[in-house]
Amino acid sequence: MFKKSLAVLATIIGMNAAAEEVMITGTVASKCVITTDTVGVYGNPTPSELSTAPADGGVLPIVRYDVLQANFYKARITYPESFSESPGLSDVVTWTGEVTVAEVTDAGMSAYDTNKVEFNNVTEVDLTIAGSTWFQIESTADYGVGKAFPAGTYRAVVSADCIAL
């Protein structure tokens, strides 16, 4: 008898209970936009060297960071340490690079050059001022010890990221 009553009560409670789920949606648009300003070109000043420096016949790749809100993002730019496309290489390639501020929309952004953090092939800059900053990346590849690069097409990739702080 008790079991039956409990079962009925549970049924009644079950019948009276109601539940609703309300959806909340939102869209976050990034306030940090990275745009390729100039595509880089390797120059070949010597048979064993590829360089993006204009003095070496190359073109410096330039990326632009547009930041709408200051102090929310940092730029992370990685210069290449390997070719994404190249003829077969039998010797070691020595990579060097440098990321510098090429152009700014606010004079204060010029301080990014002095405040940047560099480790390995990575450069990190806290974007403390809203606006646009152009970063130019210099990349140099030396093949072996004075060894000539095999003929062919060489491609390398610069990675530019915007990381939320």
Binding site: V101, A102, E103, V104, T105, D106, A107, G108, M109, S110, A111, D113, T114, S132, W134
Partner: protein
């Protein structure tokens, strides 16, 4: 700015875009002012300052919104450097927009456009001398004088007519009194009896139709032969006169 911005009414500058490279030593203090003088007032209509103090020099590419300042207010522009350092490769661009309906008369589709012909018609004011207060005063003065003259004239006329009426009344009174006399009545009857007054005064004239009673015997009127001769001579003379003007 006369040689930079187009000379167009309704032109407003919305942005100033400038670019230069600041060359300096990092520890040095340097301020760079990009500015334009104000045409209407002392000072600058636009002045943007970049503080390069204590930071390395670099190339700046800046867009400064200026909220649509009218083009005619923009004076000469300059880049001024305060402190140590120089500016190279400088260029300044002005982004402007033109309001085509700044002058509503520039296009019939503009709000507030008025037909020039109608405007001209409104502007043409006909001068009515009668609206002139001086002339109106003079006219009023003359009108008053005329009224006064008229009153005087009427008074005189009234006086003269009064005299005439008096005379006529006196004459009529004499006539009436004369007619009223028995002697006059008898004289009038006597005149009628004497037929002194024509019969037509009191007899009706018959309105009969008077038919033609003269009859032409034979009914034929012959031509006058002598007249024909005269007519012929006149014809000859006429033709001779007409021909004479062609003979010479």
């Amino acid at each position: 700015m006369q040689n930079v911005l187009p000379q167009q009414a309704g032109l407003t500058v919305s942005n100033v875009i400038y670019r230069y490279t600041a060359v300096k030593q990092t520890p040095d203090d340097m301020l760079v002012h990009v500015q334009n003088q104000n045409v209407d007032a002392p000072g600058f209509i636009f002045r943007e300052t970049d503080d390069w103090s204590g930071i390395p020099g670099n190339t700046i590419n800046k867009v400064v919104p200026v909220n649509n300042i009218p083009g005619e207010l923009w004076g000469d522009g300059s880049i001024e450097v305060e402190g140590k350092g120089t500016v190279t490769n400088a260029s300044v661009f002005y982004s402007f927009q033109f309001e085509p309906c700044f002058d509503p008369q520039s296009n019939p589709s503009c709000p507030g456009y008025q037909d020039p012909f109608e405007m001209m018609m409104e502007e043409v004011k006909v001068y009515d001398p009668l609206d002139d207060s001086l002339i109106q005063d003079e006219l009023d003065r003359k009108a008053n004088l005329r009224d006064e003259d008229e009153e005087l004239r009427q008074q005189r006329r009234a006086m003269a007519e009064g005299k005439k009426e008096d005379r006529l009344e006196s004459i009529l009174s004499i006539v009436n009194t004369a007619l009223l006399t028995a002697e006059a009545q008898a004289k009038a009857a006597e005149l009628i009896n004497m037929n002194f007054i024509p019969q037509s005064y009191y007899q009706s004239i018959p309105d009969n139709k008077y038919e033609e009673k003269i009859v032409l015997k034979g009914g034929d009127i012959p031509d006058n032969k002598r007249g024909r001769r005269v007519g012929f001579a006149q014809q000859l003379l006429h033709e001779k006169m007409v021909d004479s003007q062609y003979n010479n």
